[in-house]
Amino acid sequence: MIKVQTEDFDVGVELKTLMARAKGVGGIVTFTGIVREWSGESSSGDPASGRRQLAAMTLEHYPGMTERQLADIEAEAVRRWPIEASLIIHRYGRLEPGANIVLVITASAHRQAAFEANEFLVDWLKTKAPFWKLEAGPQGQAWVEAKASDDAAADKWGMKPTKRSAAE
């Protein structure tokens, strides 16, 4: 199931709802993505360098394509693993540090499938789902740049990335 919404979600409530439609599963994996208070990465080893304090993050998305891409990714996970039930919730709009951004739940008879399918969904939605983060802090606003490490994480699942540069 896919939900794209501005409203917050309650992990406990969502878990209970999913369990009601996935009776008899042996394991459920839940991933929650949260807005960090600090963004950016330290490359010099000094934890303070290159990092920006975040006041808020605004997530923009492409209505229609977002739902379609998330549904495709979920269908691919179901093809690859024996998943009894799954849920992806992704929020958009203005979010402050500590706020929930994304929830991915996968339920299966055994833990391995639930863990792997969950990681697959998170890796793939980061590189396929049309969302863009605009960070705002004391230094002003900036669009978050895509990370090569996210592409590498998606690549390890052995699926040809469908996102391609327009320069090819």
């Binding site: 992704h90 978050v144 391609r164």
Partner: protein, 87 residues
């Protein structure tokens, strides 16, 4: 002959172009994503600025990712945006 296409822009591409979307009628020789981007770039102003570095531009035709060789035509919805950063 009118070949109206719906263009939509997101994130910094939207900011540089200066609008969220529009309907355009490119010339008849514009039949691929690559040709459309070159034509748009040639319109100058915000388009030239937004499309300066095509390696930072992703394209979707009718809400599916598309490469430069993908065909575009009348009534297509073509979206231009930077690499995605959700999750």
């Amino acid at each position: 002959m009118l070949r109206a296409m719906k263009l939509v822009y997101f994130a910094w591409l939207r900011e540089r172009v200066g609008k969220a979307g529009e309907t355009l009628n490119p010339p008849a020789n514009v039949t691929t994503v690559g040709a459309l981007l070159e034509w748009l770039k040639g319109q100058g102003g915000g388009y030239a600025e937004a499309l300066k570095d095509l390696s930072a531009v992703r394209v979707a035709v009718n809400q599916e990712y598309a490469g430069p060789e993908a065909t575009v035509g009348a009534n297509d919805e073509v979206a231009l945006f930077p690499p995605v950063t959700g999750g």
